[in-house]
């Protein structure tokens, strides 16, 4: 039985939450509606709140101006390759730092932590010159390789690897498992939440990254989504319908990726906080 007092409280809470939901969804909805309108229509007063009929035209002009399919592929390829490889590297490094005693291990970890404190602007120009001398400008590897060993991801993985009991590793060794087998079949499954968290961080970071791809990429066929979208904002003429559609397309994968991994994500963030 629900008392009327209780009911009132519930209504209050729910209406509050509904307003919150509406407020956070509204920009996305507006972005979606905008992608179906002509540029001029977006500025009409009162605003058009229902989808228009210009979606196909906007897509057409978006394909013409930035080659959206190739750009989408570039972003996807770069972000996925980067996420897979860098998550693996940080898991391995984190495992090594957490569970192996070796000479200089602590010093090395300290150096990695220190590199977290160097702002990326400082390394930008030397790194750029390096890419130029490798003749790597306008290539995928110029974007994927430099950031593969991410200090923050290594740090996060190390903290999570610490929570794995030594006894499990020892038991596996006694059973005759090799080090790689232990890592891939035992350690990785146990740290799945942390892996998911790192994967989301890396994917979002790479997917949204603008400055570095902008500097290293030169031709339209190689652009990633943020760079291509940013090139839509010209001096005086902006086709806002195109921009809205482009941003909508850029947002969808992130939403999907996040929804798929979100339950791991939250437990991953909490993962390192409890010490047993």
């Amino acid at each position: 039985m629900i008392t009327s007092n209780n009911l009132l409280a519930k209504i209050g809470i729910y209406s509050f939450l509904i307003i919150g939901v509406l407020l956070s969804i509204a920009p996305f909805y507006w972005m979606f509606v905008g992608s179906t309108l002509q540029s001029g229509e977006i500025f009409h007063l009162p605003p058009k709140l229902l989808p228009g009929t210009n979606l196909a035209e906007n897509f057409q002009s978006l394909s013409e101006s930035i080659g959206i399919t190739k750009v989408f592929f570039n972003s996807m390829f770069i972000a996925l390759t980067y996420t897979v490889v860098s998550t693996l590297i940080s898991a391995m490094a984190g495992y090594a730092f957490a569970k192996f005693r070796f000479k200089g291990g602590n010093g090395l970890f300290f150096i990695i932590l220190c590199s977290l404190m160097i702002p990326s602007q400082v390394t930008l120009i030397p790194l750029f010159e390096m890419m130029v001398s490798f003749n790597w400008l306008n290539t995928y590897q110029a974007i994927i390789l430099p950031g593969l060993a991410a200090p923050f991801a290594i740090f996060l993985m190390k903290q999570n690897m610490k929570a794995v009991p030594d006894s499990i590793i020892e038991a596996s060794r006694v059973e005759g498992a090799g080090e790689f087998r232990i890592f891939f079949s035992i350690i990785l499954p146990m740290t799945r939440p942390a892996l998911a968290a790192v994967a989301i961080f890396q994917f979002m970071g790479q997917w949204n990254s603008l400055l570095w791809p902008l500097i290293t990429l030169n031709s339209k066929e190689m652009f990633t989504l943020p760079v291509a979208l940013s090139s839509l904002i010209g001096m005086a003429r902006i086709d806002y319908g195109q921009v809205m559609l482009g941003t909508t397309l850029a947002t969808i994968p992130i939403i999907i990726f996040f929804l798929l991994l979100q339950k791991h994500f939250i437990s991953g963030i909490l993962g390192g906080s409890v010490k047993e």
Partner: protein, 431 residues
């Protein structure tokens, strides 16, 4: 299971070389000044890049051995790439780059050896083909022509014909800023629309136009700051009067100005000629309802003319194919056909004076109330006062915007605010 790891390793090794680009072994082929050859890269943005790209075909009729690759970025992005490239001693830079005129002093100051002086390559023979204010804008402080003039933005006041009619205001009768304010009050009463948009705390474009009308920028010929001059006081006072009469619509950024244009929040917009393109693009249904009159003048002194925006072409000094880069820059900026391409299709207003007699310029515009709007802009080009800019332009503009906002929004007296601005700019320039 070691197989696992080897699998991943092999995959990585396979993927990475596969996506490397064939750009390596590109051999650089160049010709000489008479017969330029080889490939050059040009950086531009937006419709300017599109114009450059389309003009290559015309260019190649004269120089068949030169390949031109035009790469298109947003303007902010282009500057970022350019700065990084120059800071990395020229690594990864193109052979020709587009730049807004107001940025030129900053770049030549920060990277004095960064760009080729075009006059030393023979460009000075074209000096008289462009208007004096533009030529002054592309010179460095030693008088070298560091850039080849392309487009300009003679300023005018775009206005809503229907609003003016409704309020019974004659645009031709607006001669001075006082007339403008009076007209604004009438229009507001009749239509409810405010007179003009100003992004109060971020953009001092109106102030800059008012200064140029009177022959000044933030600096005079001798690099002295002009913020405490009578001209500056006059300009800021008019802006204050406009605001006090509730005639200023405080728009937020570029998008805000476009919004105000489309939905009729404002009756006039003082801006450069290139804004015609935006009006036509974004407000097609207001056809026939826009027209233009020249900037009102100050009753004390000055002209009715100013310039907003404009860009030019530069050659980074690290180019490996100087002859082809120069050939392209020279051809593009002095060729009528190329210049008209950008004008007709994209509204990029050329500074090349001999284009102004062409029929495309003198024709009446249906969109702009049947008036020969481009001819009227072309007629004032020669009259736009020459002003002097330097590397502190960006700082000065920021400080003035802040001053504008303290005068309008915080009610600070104009004289005090400008005095503080002058002091602040002096301090920042000493650094």
């Amino acid at each position: 299971m070691k197989k696992y790891l080897y699998g991943v390793l092999i995959l990585v090794l396979l993927i990475l070389p596969a996506c490397s680009n064939k750009s390596s072994g590109d051999e650089i082929k160049t010709g000489d000044a008479k017969n330029p050859a080889g490939t050059i890269t040009v950086w531009g943005w937006d419709v300017a890049a599109a114009t450059l790209k389309e003009s290559v075909e015309i260019f190649q009729k004269k120089y068949p051995d030169v390949e031109v690759k035009v790469e298109d970025f947003g303007s902010g992005d282009l500057y970022e790439k350019l700065t990084v490239g120059l800071a990395a001693r020229g690594s990864g830079l193109p052979d020709v780059v587009l730049m807004e005129d107001e940025r030129i002093p900053g770049y030549t100051h920060q990277f004095p050896q960064g760009f080729l002086p075009l006059n030393k390559l023979g460009y000075d023979k074209y000096k008289d083909s462009f208007n004096p204010a533009k030529v002054a804008a592309v010179q460095d402080k030693d008088g070298n022509m560091i850039a080849a003039p392309w487009d300009i933005g003679p300023a005018g006041v775009f206005y809503r014909v229907d609003y003016f009619e409704k309020a019974n205001v004659d645009p031709d009768a607006i001669q001075t800023w006082d007339d403008y304010i009076e007209a604004g009050k009438k229009i507001k009463e009749a239509t409810g629309a405010q007179l003009l948009p100003i992004d109060i705390s971020n953009y001092d474009g109106v102030f800059q136009m008012m200064m140029q009308q009177q022959g000044l920028s933030y600096f005079d010929e001798d690099n002295k700051i002009t913020l405490q001059s009578p001209e500056a006081t006059r300009a800021m006072s008019v802006i204050k009067e406009l605001y006090d009469a509730d005639l200023v619509f405080n728009n937020s950024g570029w998008d805000g100005i476009v919004t105000a244009t489309v939905n009729g929040t404002v009756a006039t917009i003082p801006y450069g000629v290139w804004y015609t393109g935006t009006i036509m693009d974004q407000a097609p249904d207001l056809k026939g309802n826009w027209d233009m009159f020249y900037l009102p003048k100050f009753k004390e002194s000055g002209t009715r003319y100013a310039n907003v925006g404009g860009s030019s072409l530069l050659i980074p000094s690290t180019t490996k194919n100087q002859s082809a880069a120069y050939a392209f820059v020279e051809f593009f900026t002095t060729d009528q056909e190329s210049q008209m391409l950008g004008f007709e299709k994209y509204g990029l207003f050329p500074s090349l004076k001999d284009t102004y007699v062409l029929p495309e310029f003198t024709a009446n515009s249906e969109y702009f109330n049947g008036s020969p709007i481009f001819k009227r802009f072309a007629e004032i080009v020669e009259e736009v006062p020459k002003i002097h800019l330097n590397e502190n332009y960006a700082k000065a503009s920021e400080i003035t915007s802040n001053t504008q906002s303290s005068v309008l929004l915080e009610d600070k007296p104009v004289e005090d605010a400008l005095k503080d601005a002058q002091k602040q700019l002096e301090n920042e320039m000493k650094r």
